[in-house]
Symmetry: D3
Subunit: 227 residues, 6 copies
Amino acid sequence: MPVVVRRRKRIDARVIGGFQPFGVATVHEAQGRVGLMAPFMRPVFNGAHIVGSAVTVSVPPGDNWMIHVAVEQCQPGDVLVVAPTSPCDCGYFGDLLATSLRARGVRGLVIEAGVRDVQALTEMRFPVWSRHVSAQGTVKATLGDVNLPLVCAGTLVNPGDVVIADDDGVCVVPQEHADVVLKACESREKKEAAVRDRLAAGELGLDVYTMRETLAARGLTYRDAEE
Amino acid sequence: MPVVVRRRKRIDARVIGGFQPFGVATVHEAQGRVGLMAPFMRPVFNGAHIVGSAVTVSVPPGDNWMIHVAVEQCQPGDVLVVAPTSPCDCGYFGDLLATSLRARGVRGLVIEAGVRDVQALTEMRFPVWSRHVSAQGTVKATLGDVNLPLVCAGTLVNPGDVVIADDDGVCVVPQEHADVVLKACESREKKEAAVRDRLAAGELGLDVYTMRETLAARGLTYRDAEE
Amino acid sequence: MPVVVRRRKRIDARVIGGFQPFGVATVHEAQGRVGLMAPFMRPVFNGAHIVGSAVTVSVPPGDNWMIHVAVEQCQPGDVLVVAPTSPCDCGYFGDLLATSLRARGVRGLVIEAGVRDVQALTEMRFPVWSRHVSAQGTVKATLGDVNLPLVCAGTLVNPGDVVIADDDGVCVVPQEHADVVLKACESREKKEAAVRDRLAAGELGLDVYTMRETLAARGLTYRDAEE
Amino acid sequence: MPVVVRRRKRIDARVIGGFQPFGVATVHEAQGRVGLMAPFMRPVFNGAHIVGSAVTVSVPPGDNWMIHVAVEQCQPGDVLVVAPTSPCDCGYFGDLLATSLRARGVRGLVIEAGVRDVQALTEMRFPVWSRHVSAQGTVKATLGDVNLPLVCAGTLVNPGDVVIADDDGVCVVPQEHADVVLKACESREKKEAAVRDRLAAGELGLDVYTMRETLAARGLTYRDAEE
Amino acid sequence: MPVVVRRRKRIDARVIGGFQPFGVATVHEAQGRVGLMAPFMRPVFNGAHIVGSAVTVSVPPGDNWMIHVAVEQCQPGDVLVVAPTSPCDCGYFGDLLATSLRARGVRGLVIEAGVRDVQALTEMRFPVWSRHVSAQGTVKATLGDVNLPLVCAGTLVNPGDVVIADDDGVCVVPQEHADVVLKACESREKKEAAVRDRLAAGELGLDVYTMRETLAARGLTYRDAEE
Amino acid sequence: MPVVVRRRKRIDARVIGGFQPFGVATVHEAQGRVGLMAPFMRPVFNGAHIVGSAVTVSVPPGDNWMIHVAVEQCQPGDVLVVAPTSPCDCGYFGDLLATSLRARGVRGLVIEAGVRDVQALTEMRFPVWSRHVSAQGTVKATLGDVNLPLVCAGTLVNPGDVVIADDDGVCVVPQEHADVVLKACESREKKEAAVRDRLAAGELGLDVYTMRETLAARGLTYRDAEE
């Protein structure tokens, strides 16, 4: 029974905004190395970095009708997350839909399928992460669902989850953990800054992280080349 | 029996030139969603957009001899379309062949195999769409055909067909339909411009395309989140 | 028995430096079309071109501990070459390790696995060729080897071999052949320059390379189109 | 925080057993075309057909320690479902683990990674669906989770869900829908049996499903060949 | 404009039947190493070997409606050849459609997409070559074409072409060349039988094919191991 | 400079024969989890298990000339190992070459490319492990090398190395370690037999391998389901 769920609550915009300084790798580590989409999800152009609240769309292969339906459910600060019910490389999305999403304040698109009009998307600077680039057109014949949980690129996404995307890929933070993960990001970033300074100064990670003893205990041996 | 077919007629250069304003997605839609090469055909550098008349080359795996043969059959405004007789990621084409094609006025290369010297190709701005990038060298030992019909990246190409390529990929328009497809492109573009303006102004696709009734008729339901 | 081999001799830095003018395609051809890594090895950003002496690291899937160990064995002018013992797309390497390698004068990284922090790597201009881009974190639990021979992306690499990488991919020159291959590069480049000039002036490869007779002898036929 | 959840309730064994007559295609259709794992999940030998209650295991790449932990949580009638936290083709599972699972009454294994000893598994007739076959060994160094929800081959699996697997692949029925889906299977099978008889007798699907009118309404045209 | 072309002429059944003794490799060689579908086309069960006249069906991704339409156009001795307009791994075909095709005397199915019910297909011994096995259901919403030329697995197929399929894959012989190719098959098979006897008796291919001189002329050298 | 190295010494046939009882997984573990070819190397038919001494052949893409050359260098007990210089799925090998190899006592073929005539190979029970099955023909135009070291499916193979292959894939034991690895196989097999008996009797791996303490020390926690 195809359904569109309306009026999904978003979490506090300040929490979502709090993630803006952090890249995908930091967020993924901070929440315990989970929530990362498969690495075949690539940005259409480099250098974008977005954070937003997920609106989810489940679409049939080769049919983008439900994306048009989903646009109406979007608010400023949202990210559209689209997954086909079976793998498909068709171009579900192009510059017209991007124009429409931008008009509603949507921050970007994450889609485990194809997109097209990438020169236009690049000129508009509308951020898109997709599995494929393809001009192949889609039909508008079969329904799907909006704002139900779905699996996108191997990761479970619930509507309202926090989506972070940059050149490393796409990470999803369950909304109920957003506060905790945000704090973990801040604390991780602080530690990394200190480590970065020491490494830049020429210290070795072996010493910064005090690994030498554990390595020896695990049986690592050193020998000189006999050349 | 390997053969080179000479003096293939090209269609009217004004018709071919007429396609220049239109991207691959527009042309593909305008001719009824056919003629698109597989999406693994990617540009060597972004931002190129070419239109031209196909010169076709069928090559053995790992052997680029026939590309040298084909150069002689090229005229200004042509696009070279190369397909191996079985899949191959070797680097069939580099800056020397690009220099030679440019000297003959060829607009670009489409090859379902590998190319190399991509830094040089990028600096020359010689447009190439390929399946692979690889420096792997090829031999010159076995013959193939020039200007016979072939299948390239899943699409039938006849010599003289119109080839359009941009960052979305590569589309082929059979020469006998070029006039009709060109008109369809023009008409489609006009309609899209009007739609784009309405979407940019905040109207929904649901309304612009009057989809609400059909969606309801197909059984789409709406409910509010219970959170 | 995991081992780190120290004090591997590097070959004369002037020989290594001699390769700097030559791209991967030239070097690969000059040494007889061998030594090229598989074409799935792609640069994280375009336009880099490095030459250096290989420090090799064998790592378990999902475990980057040995990269930290390997940093200590690096000298200015080295290139780190990392291969997992079974295929893995995890992000083994990011901006902290890049900071550390740069502090030691390492010229770049070649890794048949994933890397992350690619926006930071791009800003730092630290050159990386990898099989994947992924933020997926790794553990530090299992040992591997440093400076033993390994197979990376289908190519045998011995510690101290010369590694050349550019936008075409990655090529490895065995250290014992470096002198000979370097000379072959210089001679090849000279010949190509002359050919390039002739092709740019409109001469055909068929004539420059005097192919017409051999083609005819092999049975190539020409016929005019009957359109 | 790695955790093993014990004493997960299983649903009524008679409900699970009720699925035994139905293949994966039937169950997948009966629950509305959802719940199917990706088609890269293939049986190690043909002809197996199992139904059971899922025990889930999340494992690091290249590390099968948690499978040993999970065995203790298995009961007769269970199916072990294993997913790595990032893609891995290592051989996590072989004849020793199969011996252990069989001793506990486990009906089979579903794993989005590699398995080995396939000749022994085939002789034992221990059913396995996997993404890869590979002898590559794994370590026992890093923890994971048992009996938490996970995504396996693109499908969400909760511990206790019903798993159906045959030569078509693997389908998952959420335990809370098992009753309803089971009834839908029975009713679907009845309808199909009637249709099968009519088709075998030479009736056309066009007539059995009364498609002709709809096809015409959508614009399907017929013409005779002009040969 | 979706169309079904009726009453396509088949070539003489005796010519088609003449191919029955020959495997795909022989036919492919006999017609000059062309016409082979991509090797991802695999039989659902091993040991089948069919020859027939192609009925072609172009289908949208995830939509098998036109297969039902095509059944009506089939005659005894036909082979159904199905290609999606963009790549799709859905299960377009199962035991009901096989029952229907068998009732019409169709010899088998060739489909560049997925099929399901493979245990039933195997028991029925209904031969199928497909790109995927998947239970994923399809819809019946969008039209396609029957008996127009199409590209299937990289090969152009015209309705009425001769299709040969065995465990090596699928080969297509254009109907207008069927006579000539059939004779070439017979002559090739005779030669091979003689060669097979000589090789089985211990003669070397080097001598049977008198290759030694050419190899030497090309520069092949022999040296003894220095171990 | 293409070369054929003759009269490579084989190691003691009794050592090679000693490996016959052991599968690929056992040998791979016994030599420290190295030497395994990539898992895309699959047997043409199931149930074969061979051991032999490697004769190596390096071939150009789409050219099988050197296999004919290599046959002459084979002795009873050898295994032919073939790798293309760049990836190729052509059918390099069929029933004629198998007939020739069998006449010389060769035990099987390992090839990182395609093979054909698989129905004939299966009937002959000539064991083949390949990356692809394809009828695509090859030419005989370009030379390669016989009995030089090469990388096949990601693994370095020296002529004379011991090759073990079964349904799990292909493993290579360097000839100089064959004695040591053979002893390690025997000792491993003994230990596994004892473990197998205990597991079959219902003991848990957790206890057999005494893992409980280490798991607890690493932080594994247990909790009961709250359902």
